[in-house]
């Protein structure tokens, strides 16, 4: 009877790490692109980007939470109001500009991840 062979998963682990890193970089670029795109409806009828002072865009931060989990954040005090929209005390409102949602719609994350994973595993 053949001796059971211990499965070496190090190549797979390495490939997953590479694919995750690639996807994080891709999403990072897409978030920045969405913030910079003049595609967001404004109450005056125009379309604008989400760059005023540039602080929001520059604040984009990615943190590795675990081997396979990353967290994006935009730590400026008005990020949530920009993303979700806001009713202003002085009258008027900011429309919602959900750049994270549109970025995630633009990128086929599963396919992107799979492509890198296959490439890494096939050498």
């Amino acid at each position: 009877m053949a001796t059971p062979k211990k499965l070496d998963t190090s190549a797979l682990d390495k490939a997953i790490a590479k694919a995750t890193e690639g996807l994080v970089n891709r999403l990072s670029a897409e978030y920045t692109k969405e913030i910079s795109s003049a595609k967001w409806d404004w109450p005056d009828g125009s379309q604008r980007d989400i760059v005023d002072t540039g602080r929001l865009r520059a604040s984009q931060t990615v943190r590795q939470v675990s081997d396979s989990k990353y967290e994006f954040s935009w730590p400026v005090e008005y990020a949530a109001q920009v993303h979700e929209g806001a009713k202003l005390k002085g009258g008027g409102e900011w429309p919602a500009r959900p750049w994270t949602r549109t970025a995630l719609e633009n990128v086929d994350s599963k396919k992107y991840f799979e492509t890198i994973l296959r490439r890494e595993l096939s050498g």
Partner: protein, 133 residues
């Protein structure tokens, strides 16, 4: 699937007594609970207290199945804004969560020096089939 007005009725039962008013130009008032679709809240109405707005058309997502069956997942977006800077949405939020324990993706944005406190939630819609004899 429920209609927007059925959802409005449920939301009204849950938090209606905590909502504020629309103040109309003729001096009358109306509860600040609005179904937004073809008609927006008129620009010349002012709002006091907490306002609740429900989108007339819910979000719908088709969830793929292994067969050709269609599984539509529907959810109603509900937006709450406190125009009274001394009154938070905490109590209304708690009531909503009690009435609709399956509420999804709540986004609670605190009041700032320039903007009012807001809360957005989604209420999933389940079809209830009547019993057949």
């Amino acid at each position: 699937m429920a209609s927007a007005y059925q959802v409005r009725s449920l939301v009204n039962s849950a938090i209606g007594s905590h909502l504020g008013n629309y103040n109309l130009p003729d001096g009358s008032t109306s509860p600040a609970l609005w179904v937004r679709g073809q008609q927006q809240v008129p620009k010349d109405w002012t709002i006091s207290g907490i306002e609740c707005v429900i989108d007339e058309v819910p979000e719908m997502v088709n969830q793929p199945t292994l067969s050709q069956a269609v599984f539509l997942s529907t959810r109603w977006p509900i937006y709450l804004t406190s125009y009274d800077t001394a009154k938070t949405l905490a109590e209304v939020r708690e009531l909503l969560f009690q009435w609709f324990p399956d509420i999804q993706d709540p986004v609670h944005v605190a009041q700032t020096d320039i903007s009012f406190e807001t809360l957005k939630v989604f209420i999933p819609d389940y079809s209830i089939q009547p019993e057949r004899s």
